[in-house]
């Protein structure tokens, strides 16, 4: 069966789709879609091939756009994508993910979680997260109070992990009715001395699940890189060997739970650029015990961009592809698990998210 590979790109000016055959050598770029709305996350349902794009427009509020024909035509809805009357309006959708039961989840700003059981046509608020006793004490990070990382368990539909900056990681095991903090072992350097390991309030940047069903999670945090082997109940630092403890995106290998990709920046108060202006994707193949920088084909010298929290992904091909997009609008790809890189599109708008879809046709 011939395979088709799609790279789904969210940008400040709409969604873009790149498409290639199984060789992944030649890519066609299509877009912008979604009427150039600011688009924070574009994902695909790997079962149906339906593409969803979540974002928010300065005038019209949040929306989830949908295409069932690989981007040729789109519709949009925000029905039910609102908090209870009187609450602060939902500004934008930030993250989308498909649950094990086929439901679609949306994480929004200000931090909240919504569920759709009809493919994004209508939404219901998962109130349990906002009713968490720590909610009155959540503080917005620099970008706002945003639910950006959304990790449903691929097998058990009742289990979901979320990352909220700067509130931390939370998890539910009952479909969203009740939530627990999952931040033990992660630092909050910005808190007063002696309060650097709080129950919540950590500034998580990106939370991803390793493949294999072993409960392994990785996170890139404002203050460190971490691995958990028990679903986030305890975290261990894996930042030794990296050029800094600061970065935004993380991407897990599709089959190897010991393999993770990170893009550390030069630090949180030094401009948040590529260290020394040299681009590198750092890869571990031993669950974070050691790291190797991958630079071949990436800009060296004068590269003062960053990579946002949802802007790196892998595909399910063999060998795995790795993709990232920069805030300067460059989209880069490796089809050999990070060994070497090509620029597929140099001048897109600011890239907010990168995801992939592989289908047999």
């Amino acid at each position: 069966m011939a395979e088709q590979v799609f790279i789904l790109v969210g940008t400040r000016k709409g969604a873009f789709i790149l498409e290639s055959d199984a060789m992944r050598r030649s890519w066609a770029v299509r877009g912008p879609f979604c009427e150039t709305w600011p688009t924070n996350h574009v994902v695909a349902d790997p079962v149906s091939g339906t593409i969803y794009a979540g974002g928010g427009n300065e005038w019209f509020g949040p929306a989830v756009w949908k295409s069932t024909d690989f981007g040729a035509t789109w519709s949009h809805s925000s029905q039910g994508l609102a908090f209870e009357p009187g609450q602060a309006p939902v500004k934008a959708v930030w993250s989308l993910a498909r649950g094990a039961d086929g439901a679609l989840y949306a994480g929004v700003e200000p931090a909240g979680l919504f569920r759709s059981e009809d493919g994004g046509e209508s939404w219901s608020h998962i109130e349990g997260l906002q009713q968490h006793p720590t909610r009155p004490d959540w503080n917005p990070g620099g970008a706002g109070l945003i639910l950006h990382s959304l990790v449903p368990d691929p097998i058990d539909a009742s289990r979901i992990w979320v990352g909220i900056s700067a509130a931390g990681v939370f998890a539910t095991e009952d479909g969203g009715a009740s939530w627990q903090t999952r931040n033990r072992g992660t630092r909050a350097d910005f808190m007063p001395e002696g309060q650097n390991y709080p129950e919540f309030g950590q500034c998580v940047h990106c939370l991803v699940m390793a493949p294999g069903g072993g409960g392994r999670l990785y996170q890139q945090n404002h203050c460190g890189m971490y691995r958990s082997d028990d679903g986030g109940k305890a975290w261990e630092s894996i930042e030794a060997g990296l050029p800094s403890s600061f970065g935004f995106p993380a991407a897990a290998h599709p089959r190897d739970p010991d393999c993770l990709y990170l893009i550390p920046l030069n630090g949180d108060i030094k401009g948040r650029f590529m260290p020394e202006g040299n681009t590198a994707v750092w890869r571990t193949t031993d669950a974070g015990r050691s790291w190797q920088p991958k630079r071949e084909g990436l800009p060296q010298g004068g590269a003062y961009f960053n990579v946002l929290r949802q802007a790196m992904a892998t595909d399910t091909m063999e060998p795995a592809g790795v993709y990232f997009g920069t805030n300067a609008g460059g989209l880069y790809a490796s089809i050999d698990e990070g060994e070497s890189w090509d620029c597929l599109a140099p001048f897109l708008p600011t890239i907010t998210s990168v995801e992939t879809l592989v289908i047999g046709r």
Partner: protein, 103 residues
Amino acid sequence: MSDETLRERHGEAGQASVLVRLPPHLVVLFPGAERRVSLKARDVNEMVDALDALWPGMRERICDETPAIRRHINVFVEGRRASLSTPLREGADIFVLTAISGG
């Protein structure tokens, strides 16, 4: 645009016939929507309901959950900035506008 292209909608007793002009950025989101629509409504809230009945989903693009007209959307009724409770008179001229916004 000619009068033939204006949409007509039958309303309830007491509702005024008004002319609503919609911004291009809003119309483009709803296939078949038109820049000028005549409809019947007693106030701005009913006007938004009538628009939503014609083009489902339009309410969420004009109003937030406060509920109120969205922060960067302006509705002018007979030249004055209106809220959802602003009453409408027979023959009122209404503009829905997008404020200067975005980047």
